[in-house]
């Protein structure tokens, strides 16, 4: 579903991505692990067409990212680490807004509410939601366009354990809808529990890409493959 091949990106003299390559299977939950500054956010930004890259090749759903950015954006969705919605609007007003911007249908709108258990807070101002409810709204917005691919940028930051577990369960359920998930995180246990496959990024390169099985010792891989 996603092919990233030998991608390079620099910010001045700093190499953010230095020949990064990995591939994500359709319908899988793929984890991107890495320390701060490893290049996780940069590649997410590039995959969403929010940043350019210098060399390399990226193909998403058999489309070249450089030439089919608009089409790719229509089938993908970004759930940023920050709460990317409007706190002064209610949950319903936020969902209405992002739904209208993407011209999505009512069925999908309803599904985003149900999957994220937002039915009881629809008329509550987003500013007054709890941390977990805010995270769920953030994710629900990402579901509105019925995406084939969702990019999650550390979606459980600052969330209590109960909400965290609810969020991870809902992300797991996306597999049933055939959605491909690319999930970035610092949390090894989260990635082990959630993902089918993982790539460990270090200094802008893919240190290792491996499937996750019950026997996979992700902690060992992480310490061996990174210079943290």
């Amino acid at each position: 579903m996603i092919q990233v091949h030998d991608v390079h990106k620099s910010y001045g003299d700093v190499k953010a991505l230095d020949g990064l390559s990995f591939h994500v299977q359709k319908g899988s939950i793929f984890g991107l692990l890495g320390a701060n500054g490893a290049g996780k956010s940069t590649i997410l930004s590039i995959l969403n067409g929010l940043s350019t890259y210098e060399n390399g090749y990226i193909e998403i759903a058999n489309l070249d990212l450089k030439t089919h950015q608009r089409d790719i954006r229509k089938i993908s969705s970004l759930v940023p680490q920050n709460l990317a919605f409007y706190e002064r609007l209610s949950v319903r007003e936020n969902l209405d807004f992002f739904s209208k911007v993407q011209k999505t249908n009512k069925e999908q709108y309803q599904k985003a509410i149900e999957v994220n258990n937002l039915e009881n807070f629809l008329d509550k101002r987003a500013a007054f939601l709890s941390g977990g409810q805010k995270r769920r709204l953030n994710i629900a917005i990402g579901l509105l366009n019925n995406p084939k691919i969702i990019y999650f940028d550390e979606p459980t930051v600052g969330v209590d354990p109960k909400s965290r577990s609810e969020i991870l369960e809902s992300i797991k359920s996306y597999k049933d809808f055939g959605i491909t998930v690319l999930y970035t995180s610092h949390q090894l246990d989260e990635v082990s529990m959630l993902c089918d496959e993982v790539a460990i990024i270090d200094f802008g390169k893919c240190a290792i890409q491996t499937k996750i099985t019950p026997k996979t010792n992700l902690k060992k891989y992480f310490w061996e493959q990174t210079n943290v």
Binding site: S45, P80, Q81, L83, Y86, L89, E93, F98, V101, I141
Partner: protein, 376 residues
């Protein structure tokens, strides 16, 4: 997509209490304060001198002069110890044709002294004409009548027009346009706060990832702020008409056409939106935007005649004022409030404002596109 963006912006601004205070309460208070504070500057009946008279001439003519002076509302009969000016009519003032002595107790400006002299001269000359008329009447009734017909009453001798009108502009007519103009440029506060919050929270990134074009993001801000600015203008005009008179200050009079008023208001708000948009997309933080926005508003206001009226500026400053869009807006509003202007009379100011607005909006789109391509 456009209507959703417009609705979102509307809701966000209307729920921002601080922004609404800056947009509506702040200029309304300024209008109230400045109209009341400047009331006397623009009033015809404002100049009054506290005088005391020491009369050493017991003649009827001298007594008449005293009577006339105290009848004049420019002179307030005051006990000697409290008076600003002491007038001394010496012994045989009339008979020996002596001078009136003027003792100024408190400091007066040169122009106030000139005014005092002019007002006094009027009474002295009237008195002298009375004496001449009385003497002439012994010889010729015709000559006496001719002298009697000479009136020294200003209203009968002079016709003053202010900007082609007989009415004097009042303090409210001066202060309402000033604070409408200044207030409109304060949309920089909600606009930059919302925009930078969108950027910091990655909402902008999210919108870009949803294929929302930068141009639509910028242009969608025009509609809500245009409407808010018109509402702001109407509120300030209503403050001038209904609230200001409660404080014993003349009400706002609109001498021009309403279409002209809304046209200049539309043009000014477009220019304020463009300018605010440019600062909002260029600034990195809310603090930076509000600081730059606040300072540039004050500078544009100072240059453009908001802080100090243009007509009292030196010539080179008046020329410099023309670079400020606030000055174009202010000129347009003053023409409407003071000179019975129609749309045709304010077309040049309006076109300059609209052009400024469009250019700054287009530059904002370019900056936003560049930033979006560089990951904001």
């Amino acid at each position: 997509m456009f209507s959703a963006l417009v609705k979102k912006e509307f809701l966000l601004v209307l729920r921002d209490k601080h922004a609404l205070m800056a947009l509506f309460i702040m200029p309304a208070i300024f209008i109230l304060i400045m109209s009341v504070a400047m009331r006397d500057v623009f009033s015809q009946e404002s100049v009054s001198f506290k005088i005391a008279i020491e009369n050493h001439d017991k003649s009827p003519t001298a007594k008449k002069l005293m009577y006339n002076l105290f009848k004049d509302k420019n002179f307030i009969n005051t006990p000697k110890e409290d008076a600003d000016i002491l007038l001394i009519l010496p012994k045989d003032y009339v008979k020996a044709n002596k001078k009136i002595e003027i003792d100024i107790k408190n400091s007066l400006k040169i122009e106030e002294i000139d005014l005092l002299k002019a007002k006094l001269l009027k009474h002295v000359l009237t008195l002298k004409l009375d004496v001449i008329q009385e003497k002439l009447s012994d010889f010729s009734d015709e000559a006496a009548a001719a002298v009697r017909s000479v009136a020294l009453d200003e209203d009968k001798l002079l016709q003053i027009k202010y900007n082609e009108q007989e009415k004097i502009p009042n303090s409210t007519q001066q202060s309402v346009p000033t604070w409408i103009v200044f207030g409109m440029f304060f949309i920089i506060i909600p606009m930059s706060t919302i925009y930078i919050h969108e950027r910091e929270q990655n909402t902008l990134s999210r919108l870009f990832s949803m294929n929302v074009p930068a141009s639509l993001l910028v242009f969608s801000k025009i509609v809500p702020y245009l409407l808010i600015a018109q509402l702001q203008m109407v509120c300030m005009v209503l403050v001038g008409i209904y609230l200001v008179p409660i404080f014993n200050t003349p009400a706002l009079e609109i001498n021009g056409t309403l279409s002209a008023l809304f046209f200049i208001s539309f043009a000014l708000s477009l220019s304020a939106i463009g300018f605010s948009s440019l600062i909002a997309v260029s600034a990195k933080t809310t603090e930076q935007a509000t600081t730059i926005g606040g300072i540039s508003n004050i500078l544009l206001g100072a240059i453009g005649g908001v802080m100090v009226p243009k007509f009292i500026m030196p010539q080179f400053m008046q020329t410099l004022a023309n670079i400020s869009p606030m000055s174009w807006g202010l000129d347009g509003f003053l023409k409407i409030f003071l000179q019975s202007a129609s749309v045709a009379n304010i077309i040049s100011e309006s076109l300059m404002l609209i052009t400024f607005g469009i250019v700054t909006l287009l530059i904002s789109v370019v900056i936003l596109k560049i930033k979006a391509n560089n990951g904001l």
